[in-house]
């Protein structure tokens, strides 16, 4: 297996003007040379092989986008080495563009006023895709999703879901080695999310495309990625299989209960009773993340039965979402 992406101890610093408050401060800022250096990415190293789907996770402002921009060559790292597809991105950005595809969730790279098929034709000429390959790709797309009705619809008239779908198809059109997907399922409904996940999975399988996926939706991660990389505050927290990660938290179980009383009140009360564990409530359940090394789940349940009337309960393995949440909050020991 060959590595398509290699990052070695990559650091990216930005200079930011120290802003002052108030009118006086704002005027002062006009002449200020008072910069501070912010380290957005701090010593990240990783290698990604051809054909992998890697989930690139982290809370907002963790440095995900900055890393992606460096990998695509739009930003230059302050120090450290990056090679993508065998070239240094920021030095051969235009050349690299031929080898990569990008989808940035909220923004479309399609031509707003044109029917989708015209956007595809444009991309075909821009990326100089041979006729045979182009036709084959469209046939392949057709076998995955019903694109025929989309092709003749102007992009501006599409729903968000249709547009995202089209954008993903457009990013894969020139059969790139690597595709960067930045929050592709943001704002979509459940069935569209499922459709898009299936699509990405199929494209990855068929074309052996490397996919770097940033998302906040753990459903995406569970459905697509075997490997995840987690960063926070520019530092790498985790880089390994999802399964391995769950192993770290093997002793954790999620206990879900439905008490007689109103959920939010009960949740507050339970949180006070069990200060060691995290308690959260949604519309149906109160979830308690129990560490069995501290206290057995059944003991917790028994304890709660004294104070609350419990109508229903469920026991679950820790979900990826919980794992990620714990890592964001506490890190990996």
């Amino acid at each position: 297996m060959s590595n398509v992406i290699e990052l070695k101890n990559v650091i990216k610093e930005f200079k930011v003007l120290n802003r002052h408050e108030g009118l006086k401060g704002s005027i002062k800022d006009l002449f200020s040379r008072d910069y501070k250096t912010v380290r957005a990415v701090d010593g990240i190293s990783m290698t990604i092989e051809q054909g992998e789907i890697v989930g690139y996770l982290g809370p907002n402002g963790a440095g995900k986008s900055t890393t992606i921009k460096m990998m695509t060559g739009v930003l230059e790292p302050t120090s450290g080495g990056i090679t993508v597809g065998g070239v240094v991105p920021c030095r051969s950005r235009t050349k690299l563009a031929q080898e990569i595809g990008v989808v940035f969730g909220q923004r479309s790279q399609l031509w707003w006023a044109l029917p989708l098929i015209e956007s595809f034709r444009l991309l075909k000429d821009i990326y100089q895709i041979p006729d045979a390959e182009y036709d084959e790709m469209l046939r392949f797309y057709q076998s995955l999703v019903d694109i025929e009705p989309l092709l003749h619809k102007p992009v501006r008239q599409m729903s968000l879901g249709q547009r995202t779908l089209s954008d993903i198809l457009a990013a894969f059109l020139h059969n790139p080695k690597i595709v960067f997907l930045d929050e592709p399922t943001i704002g979509l409904d459940v069935s569209m999310k499922a459709k898009i996940r299936t699509l990405i999975h199929a494209l990855n399988q068929e074309k052996h495309t490397t996919v770097i996926l940033t998302t906040h939706d753990m459903g995406d991660v569970d459905a697509l990625c075997r490997r995840i990389v987690i960063i926070d505050k520019g530092k790498m927290l985790y880089d390994n299989d999802i399964e391995h990660l769950k192993g770290f938290f093997g002793s954790y179980r999620t206990l879900k209960i439905r008490p007689e009383e109103a959920l939010s009140q009960a949740a507050e009360a339970i949180a006070k009773e069990l200060p060691d564990f995290r308690v959260s409530a949604d519309e149906e359940w109160i979830s308690i993340l129990v560490d069995e090394e501290k206290q057995k789940v059944l003991d917790v349940l028994g304890q709660l039965q004294h104070t609350h009337v419990i109508r229903d309960m469920q026991l679950e393995e820790i979900s990826t979402e919980e794992v990620i949440k714990k890592i964001y909050e506490e890190g990996v020991q």
Binding site: G73, V74, F104, R107, W111, Y127
Partner: protein, 267 residues
């Protein structure tokens, strides 16, 4: 094959422009209003000098010149600066930079389709009407060829200036003021609103050496001059060519330096 990569934008641009029929209509109406104002303004100006020619131009010369200048302006104005400003502010520029071609070319060719449509729907009809109505005021001969060559170079210079100003947006992030300034300077110094013949002598000399007059004054002079000297034609086209090259290089250089700044320091 290489050219096809770019001409495909022209094709898409034409389709795109034709989708917005109404905007073309509105633009024609807008230009018409502008022309009516121009007509009365210059009528008043000439009335104040008892319809004597000013700077060698009669009322009708002036009017023909200005009508054609407006038509030319209609298809030369490309809103490049706005587009760049918007992409930079919204961050869309990242996507544009990831096209497998230079941003400068990408943007230019994206507009080229609009050019073709604008040329056919505004300039050409205006030109035909003016020629028909004035009967003989517009010479129809070799000058049309010089004019076309000149217009192509004018488009290039105009785009380069726009691109230069748009690049400034990478630093300022706001473009409104700078763009208004650019528009005023170009409209005035290029001879788009006031023929250069009306300028006082020292200013005229200065303006002759600036790139702006190559945008409107040069092609229109070539078009309307009834008995041009070969040397004058050559000088005009030569000056334009020089500016095409200079502005192209300047734009390219400034963009490269600025982009480096951006890739180093982030947007």
């Amino acid at each position: 094959m290489k050219l096809k990569k770019y001409l495909t934008f022209t094709r898409a641009g034409i389709i795109e422009a034709l989708q917005f029929r109404l905007s073309t209509v509105v633009m024609v109406i807008g230009n018409l209003l502008y022309l009516i104002v121009t007509y009365f303004l210059w009528k008043a100006i000439f009335a104040s000098v008892n319809n004597e020619p000013i700077g060698g131009m009669t009322f009708y010369d002036t009017l023909i010149y200005l009508v054609l200048a407006t038509a030319l302006n209609g298809f030369m104005e490309m809103y490049t600066v706005w587009e760049m400003g918007r992409s930079i502010q919204s961050g869309k520029i990242v996507l544009d930079l990831l096209r497998p071609m230079e941003y400068r070319k990408y943007l230019f060719w994206s507009y080229s389709g609009g050019f073709v449509v604008q040329f056919l729907t505004t300039f050409l009809p205006t030109f035909i009407v003016v020629t028909a109505v004035t009967q003989g005021a517009v010479p129809l001969g070799l000058n049309l060829v010089w004019f076309m060559i000149s217009v192509v170079m004018a488009v290039s210079i105009n785009y380069s200036i726009d691109f230069l100003v748009g690049t400034v947006c990478l630093y300022t992030e706001s473009i409104w003021g700078i763009n208004i300034m650019k528009q005023v300077v170009i409209l005035l110094l290029s001879g788009a609103t006031v023929p250069l013949a009306f300028f006082p002598e020292p200013l005229k000399t200065v303006v002759q050496y600036l790139p702006f007059q190559s945008i409107y004054n040069a092609p229109l002079t070539l078009l309307l001059n009834k008995n041009p000297e070969p040397l004058a034609i050559l000088t005009t086209l030569g000056t334009q060519l020089l500016w095409v090259i200079v502005m192209l290089l300047l734009g390219k250089l400034f963009w490269r330096v600025s982009l480096r700044q951006i890739t180093v320091n982030g947007g």
